[in-house]
């Protein structure tokens, strides 16, 4: 099986802060992986490295078999079009309708003019496809509703549909359940893993929720202070490993206070 991601000693710094610290990691195509760890552990930075919006300061990164360091702007753009990203705050255009937001999912492989036309006069084939996708995520009646008028959970469905319409080989989701209630959080994580199975895309999700991660993901990667502290299946994960993830070190307690 070929690999979706191959990281070798990847490090990212923001001035003095080392957000991702020498991470080496391999994720195969079709895998479902959850990154867990406390806030500030480097989950969001790692997601940004994986979608190439943040390039590593050190180390090697290959995505879908392509070494990213060799890529120019255009090649990087084409690579990004193969990777779906659901940012933590979804990144929807609030005053456009659901269909308009979803159709933008394919903008990475379409021309600028085509994208403008997509907003104004969507193809009937695209509209049909988007209707099916919204049906799959459970909001088929919201096709022409402005996103601003949708609930938090419904907005999330629009963002998922946008990612699906992109037909990505990999889907990254950064804290997809941070803004919804627990019952809906479970539904969302379940939906994402199901869709990954149906469409065959690699799924990488960063999660605060250890229980959800253990329930739905066959592989959990624990991050703390930018480093991987464990990488294992949920059953072989020990309580002490989990405790170690969230327990504050003396030094962190000092900085927190």
């Amino acid at each position: 099986m070929s690999s979706a991601f191959q990281l070798n000693g990847v490090t990212c710094r923001f001035r003095d802060l080392v957000a991702v610290d020498g991470v080496s990691l391999s994720i195969d195509e079709g895998e479902q992986v959850a990154f867990i760890g406390p806030s500030g552990s480097g989950k969001t930075t790692l997601i940004r490295v994986l979608n190439t919006t943040l390039l590593p300061d050190e180390g090697e990164l290959s995505i879908l078999g392509e070494p990213v360091a060799d890529h120019g702007v255009a090649a990087l753009r084409l690579l990004r079009a193969r990777i779906g990203t659901m940012p933590q705050h979804l990144g929807l255009v609030e005053n456009l309708t659901a269909i308009q937001n979803v159709i933008l999912g394919r903008g990475g492989t379409r021309s600028t003019l085509r994208s403008v036309r997509d907003l104004l006069l969507p193809d009937s084939a695209d509209a049909e496809k988007i209707h099916q996708l919204l049906d799959r995520v459970g909001i088929e009646d919201k096709l022409y509703t402005q996103v601003a008028k949708l609930s938090g959970g419904q907005k999330q469905r629009v963002a998922i549909a946008r990612a699906l319409f992109q037909e990505p080989e990999i889907l990254l989701a950064d804290e997809p359940v941070s803004a919804v209630d627990p019952a809906r959080a479970r539904d969302t994580v379940k939906l994402l893993t199901e869709l990954s199975g149906e469409h065959g895309f690699t799924l990488c999700v960063s999660l605060h929720h250890v229980e959800l991660a253990k329930e739905f993901f066959p592989r959990l990667i624990g991050l703390r202070a930018g480093k991987i502290v464990f990488d294992s299946a949920p059953d072989s994960l020990t309580q002490s490993e989990l405790d170690g993830l969230y327990e504050l070190s003396d030094e962190e307690m000092m900085t927190d206070a």
């Binding site: 753009r77 990004r80 940012p87 705050h89 255009v93 933008l104 600028t112 402005q146 601003a148």
Partner: protein, 290 residues
């Protein structure tokens, strides 16, 4: 919040300084309260007449020489109001597309990321020269633009419209570019992360997000254009302002008030219309329905 003595002291000095500056200016300009007292008896009478005429606006011409087959005064006034409206509308139709173009080049949210040193220098040059052009356009008042353009091209509706459109495009463009740059980048970042080009992101993400604000502001400027277009009557452009000016010259104050009231009615109608549009845009928390 803690107010430190130092901060309070500085604020007090600023207020004192502004007060002092006012008195210095007033002294320099020869400002006295007596400046509003008319210099002789006839002026007193005229002032009285002018305000008395407010209570009895003319329903017929005060000028006896107006031919019998001329339009009644209120028809003439209404026509003047519509000319004012058409004029403002025409000027805005020229100003808004120009402002959109300048607003684009005067904003930075469409810039590619990352950019090389050469590209960054080029983008900065475009950015600053556009902002300079917009400042130049709006630093000159529409009345001065009108005097400049009319003296060059003669009194024509198009010349007047351009005189109005020039400073308005500068102001609109400046505010457009700022509204665009103030838009949150979350949606734009999300689109760039899935391979959208920078300009594509601008057109399908940032611009649609900013559009309700742009529309609201354009409408406010349209109201300003109405008042300015009336004022352009004073330099000879045929709007309600021209009728006001001509009647005023002949001391037909009751006619002046008839035109004032018609202009006021127009402003009120447009104001309500604008409030309605703003309300609709807000209730959608954005407009841009396609």
């Amino acid at each position: 919040m803690i107010t430190t003595p130092g901060k309070f002291g500085r604020r007090r000095w600023v207020v004192l300084g502004i007060g002092l500056l006012f008195f210095l200016c007033a002294k320099d300009l020869g400002l006295t309260p007596a400046g509003l007292i008319p210099p002789d008896e006839t002026r007193w009478e005229r002032t009285g007449e002018f305000f008395k005429a407010a209570l009895s606006p003319a329903f017929d011409y005060e000028d006896a020489n107006v031919p019998d087959d001329a339009d009644p005064i209120w028809i003439k006034g209404l026509k003047g109001v519509f000319l004012t409206l058409k004029f403002a509308f025409g000027a805005m139709s020229l100003a808004i597309p120009a402002a959109l173009v300048m607003g684009f080049f005067g904003s930075s949210s469409w810039w590619p990321e990352p950019r090389g040193r050469l590209l960054a220098a080029l983008l900065n040059a475009i950015y600053f020269s556009t902002r300079f052009l917009m400042s130049l356009l709006r630093s000159i008042h529409e009345l001065i633009w009108a005097l400049l353009i009319l003296s060059a091209f003669g009194v024509s509706p198009l010349a007047g419209m351009i005189a109005l459109a020039l400073p308005f495009s500068g102001t609109l463009g400046k505010v457009f570019s700022e509204l665009i740059d103030e838009e949150t980048r979350e949606a734009a970042n999300a689109l760039r992360a899935i391979g959208h080009r920078p300009v594509q992101t601008f057109l399908v993400g940032t611009l649609p997000a900013a559009l309700p604000n742009l529309i609201t502001y354009s409408f406010y400027r349209f109201e300003c254009a109405l008042r300015s277009s009336a004022v352009l009557g004073f330099v000879g452009i045929e709007t309600i302002g021209l009728y006001i000016e001509l009647s005023h010259e002949e001391f037909y104050y009751r006619e002046v008030w008839t035109y004032f009231y018609l202009l006021l009615a127009l402003i009120i109608v447009v104001d309500f219309w604008g409030a309605g549009i703003r309300k609709r845009l807000n209730s959608n928390s954005g407009g841009c329905r396609t």
